[in-house]
Symmetry: C2
């Protein structure tokens, strides 16, 4: 029945069902009769995402016994917000392929993509705002603002070979972890008893976001995935964590002389950069685990551990 | 004292003061310490706009005796939303000059402009959402969605020489009148007694928006203004109302052969296109007047008539 999420064996069927539900909520909410918009919707990867954010929202809501009627709507608007951000991302990063499909911008060009990204983005906010809890809408606006600030910071640092780890973490905390932190904010808004645990919860969601992005940056170099462009960061002059480590081993001149992806990969291998990155990943992973420790024995504990493993070990 | 709005002699000093206040509210609300954002803010035309939308909100609020504490905040967020839409517009239209200054995109390029437009846009929504009236936030999201739909429709019709008046009106109703209609929605949200007059109020704000955009399209051809590019619509293949009328007089082949702006202008003059456009303008103007008729004798009536004249007779 719930075919596409069958491999998420760590999720109970109830959550798998909710993930399927999300696609329907988004589709029904956009529900466009306009033929142009229909054409655009068809070329937007609305479905088949990993749903990393909705899953985390459901798992943590269960962990903290939050039974809000509108959780599914919140998860849907978060997923749609994420999708819309990809439309703008792909313009800036000049990405051609994502999830095995041509990106929206590579099909329709940048002008339409800019507007279509705006359209989806507004729709996500509108869907959330139907819940009529101004704090929720505000939290999503705050997270989105952080996301944009992170993207601006990233853009400013394109080609900056002197970028340090702090700036890298500042970029990914803003551009990626912000939407995971929205989940933490949602929990606190829906269950005021959690206010006292606010810092810990947000540190946890933040760590998941960091983990997610660092893995993404690793996959851009090492993965065998076929659904996405590879070495896009190199082409776009984005100095991510693996590159920061590599640039400590080789001279700038040597970096500029790299002639192809093969040579680049052999340098990464020669200096065992992956190992260094995985020390960072392990560190963040351990922090995330220590947040979950007090919940040992709970059913949700196991699922959350497996969720983090899924984030950490994913291949695409 | 209130130097920049001195020429608005139809406004009472109280409203002029509020217009000055708007610049401060926006500036304080954004209040960015980040040096990059400061640099971007400096190159964003936050001030010195005509403030056509805030003025209308204030005049209509007075007319309907709406004394809401947060009117100024609503007006500020609307003005900021308008400003942010110009940042994205200028990317799509490849505009180089606006309000006598180089546009943001011509200084910083399209990628930064895309993100900066998003940033301002989110800030506008966040400012409005601080009022914590979900209906207001929803109304702004709706208007913004309409705006984007209008821009998409416009993009789809670039270079479409067969475009008819209905499609043109549909474009400008969505892309421009939507933000004026937001004002109508605000009035009804803040004063429930106005619900029975909803259609008339929205027809009025819609007419003001149409008037505003048609004049804009006329100015792109006929004005002597120096603050903006001229003949941008022609360069960008936007078939606006004057072009729709011109294309009824000349053959497509003749249109494609137009070699420069001088020849284009002489054709507009030869076929007295301006007169035809002004018949449309007069028609909309009369509809707007008839809405105001029942309020004759009120102080605000006179101000609103002068406001419409200001929209209609503006030179830039």
């Amino acid at each position: 029945m719930i075919k596409s999420y069958m491999n998420y064996d760590f999720l109970k069927n109830e959550i798998k069902g909710k993930l399927v539900e999300i696609d329907k909520i988004i589709e029904n909410y956009i529900n466009e009769n306009n033929s142009t918009h229909k054409k655009y919707l068809k070329k937007t990867s609305l479905k088949n995402g990993k749903k990393a954010r909705p899953i985390l929202l459901f798992l943590l809501s269960d962990l903290f016994d939050i039974k809000h009627n509108e959780l599914n709507k919140i998860a849907s608007s978060l997923e749609l917000l994420h999708i819309s951000s990809l439309v703008h991302d792909d313009i800036i990063d000049k990405t051609n392929y994502r999830r095995g499909k041509k990106t929206f911008s590579s099909v329709f060009g940048n002008d339409v993509s800019l507007l279509w990204g705006d359209f989806l983005f507004l729709t996500a906010l509108k869907l959330l705002n139907t819940i009529k809890i101004p704090e929720l809408t505000n939290a999503m606006l705050d997270s989105s603002l952080k996301m944009v600030k992170g993207q601006i910071l990233e853009l400013e640092n394109k080609g900056n070979l002197k970028i340090n780890k702090d700036t890298y973490y500042s970029i990914i905390e803003n551009k990626t972890a912000s939407l995971f932190n929205f989940i933490g904010e949602v929990l606190i808004i829906l269950n005021k008893d959690l206010v006292s645990k606010k810092n810990e919860i947000l540190e946890f969601t933040n760590n998941i976001g960091l983990l997610f992005q660092i893995i993404d940056d690793v996959l851009d170099i090492y993965s065998d995935r076929t659904g996405k462009d590879k070495f896009n960061d190199f082409k776009e002059n984005k100095i991510t964590l693996p590159y920061i480590f590599l640039l400590k081993k080789i001279k700038k001149e040597e970096y500029f002389k790299i002639k192809d992806e093969e040579e680049l990969l052999s340098l990464f291998n020669k200096y065992k950069i992956k190992d260094e990155v995985y020390i960072e990943i392990e560190n963040i992973y351990q922090q995330a685990l220590s947040f979950l420790n007090p919940f040992k024995g709970r059913r949700e504990y196991k699922a959350l551990i497996k969720y983090i493993d899924f984030i950490r070990r994913r291949k695409s």
